[in-house]
């Protein structure tokens, strides 16, 4: 497969400075054809690396409960933004939009996570007026 070899030669010529984003290939993990929109109660916030995982109970219309795991950012980055282990306590209601895992399990990446009052979770201000900025609910 010449295409593959060509790509690898490009790779070797591109400088590997180790400055990669240090993330999985999310396209390999989650499915762009399977968007999800979930609303549930946090049962556990697992501050693990490389990504924190939020465990939520999603109650369906029929009253059945599905247990989902939502992938968040790295605790290290979140903690330095001023968030703490108190930031997302069990019992908190959250809404999540994201994409489901390719393996079909009840796992999704937490693209957009909002609290019951509409505040977007974990977003902080970067200070340069970029369009994506939001006022952060900074808790210490």
């Amino acid at each position: 497969m010449v295409g593959r070899l060509g790509l690898m030669i490009v790779a070797s010529l591109v400088l590997g400075t180790g400055s990669a984003a240090a993330h999985h290939a999310f396209a390999a993990e989650f499915d762009a054809q399977k968007p999800v929109s979930l609303k549930g109660k946090v049962t556990k916030m697992d501050w693990i690396n490389p990504h924190a995982w939020i465990h939520i109970d999603v109650t369906g219309a029929d009253g059945s409960v599905e247990k989902w795991m939502i992938e968040g950012g790295a605790p290290n980055a979140l903690l330095r933004r001023g968030f703490s282990k108190e930031s997302l306590l069990p019992g908190t209601e959250i809404s999540v939009t994201g994409f489901q895992a390719k393996n079909g399990t009840k796992r999704a990446n937490g693209f957009n996570i909002t609290l019951a009052d509409g505040k977007v979770l974990f977003v902080g201000s970067s200070g340069i007026g970029a369009p994506y900025e939001n006022q952060a609910p900074k808790d210490k």
Binding site: W47, P75, L79, S84, K85
Partner: protein, 275 residues
């Protein structure tokens, strides 16, 4: 020379008395007579614990008294003698005082140790286990921090000496804050995650674990390590692990790189490999 024999005689008396009662009753076991720990070179008056240290014995195989035992047949078929646990006397002050439900969990862990033990997966070992793994570790004693770095899984922890530093979130290696009590370094380790074990035999803990460690130099080449385990969710009372540590004295000795992640991937991810 006479003093040496006198000291040895005293030592023997102490050891004999201890042997007939609790092995660990004499806290300064095997202390060389007249020994005073060397001080740091910069004059803060503290004992200098710097160096490369390693435990001997079978604490990592099994903290309690045990005769030699094997492993499941499938493991023995591949690894033979290397998979067998050598016999050993315990490094604990009696049988570990589990609550009844927790004891059942320990039994389950033991029976499934060849799939469940986090050491097999190159997970950071937590404390106190990192101290008595069969790999050396290095203490770097600086003026305001003491860094302990473990060859296994390139793990490490900073012991804060200048001020108390709280843990942001639970960690595999917990959070270490230390102080001096006489010539002993006392470290409070808190905020553990619950996935680590205390040994290969399935002894475990919950996220309520708190460990109080004492490091005491007892000769130029020995250090006594004591770890009190406090975990009310798992045990009926606190209990103690005592492990002598031996200085690695080879010329130019240094820790080697032991990045064990690649050695654990078959075990962890093998079931999802494309066939």
């Amino acid at each position: 020379m006479t003093r040496f024999w006198q000291g040895l005689g005293t030592g023997l008396v102490v050891v004999c008395a201890a042997a007939s009662a609790d092995r660990w009753a004499a806290p300064l076991l095997a202390q060389a007579p007249g020994f005073k720990a060397p001080r740091t070179s910069w004059g803060d008056g503290k004992p200098d614990l710097s160096g490369i240290w390693q435990a001997l014995g079978t604490a990592n195989w099994n903290l309690e008294d045990h005769a030699a035992y094997g492993a499941p047949a499938a493991v023995l078929a591949v690894a033979g003698t290397v998979a067998a646990a050598p016999g050993g006397f315990g490094f604990v002050d009696g049988p570990i005082p589990y609550k009844p439900e927790a004891l059942k969990q320990r039994q389950h862990n033991f029976e499934n140790r060849w799939t469940l033990d986090p050491e097999l997966k190159c997970y950071q070992a937590g404390l106190p286990r990192a101290t008595y793994l069969p790999y050396p570790f290095q203490i770097l004693q600086s003026n305001n921090k003491i860094l302990v770095t473990y060859e296994y899984a390139k793990s490490s922890r900073t012991i804060h000496m200048d001020k108390k530093v709280a843990a942001p979130v639970p960690q595999y290696m917990g959070q270490s804050n230390g102080r001096w009590e006489g010539d002993s370094l006392v470290v409070e380790v808190t905020d553990f995650r619950d996935e680590s074990w205390f040994d290969r035999a399935g002894n475990f803990h919950s996220d309520a674990l708190k460990v109080t460690e004492r490091f005491t130099l007892t000769s130029p080449y020995h250090m006594l390590y004591e770890a009190t385990i406090d975990d009310a969710k798992t045990f009926t009372r606190p209990w103690k692990i005592t492990v002598p540590l031996y200085k690695r004295i080879e010329r130019n000795v240094q820790l080697m790189e032991f990045n064990c992640v690649p050695f654990s991937e078959d075990m962890i991810y093998g079931q999802w490999k494309r066939r």
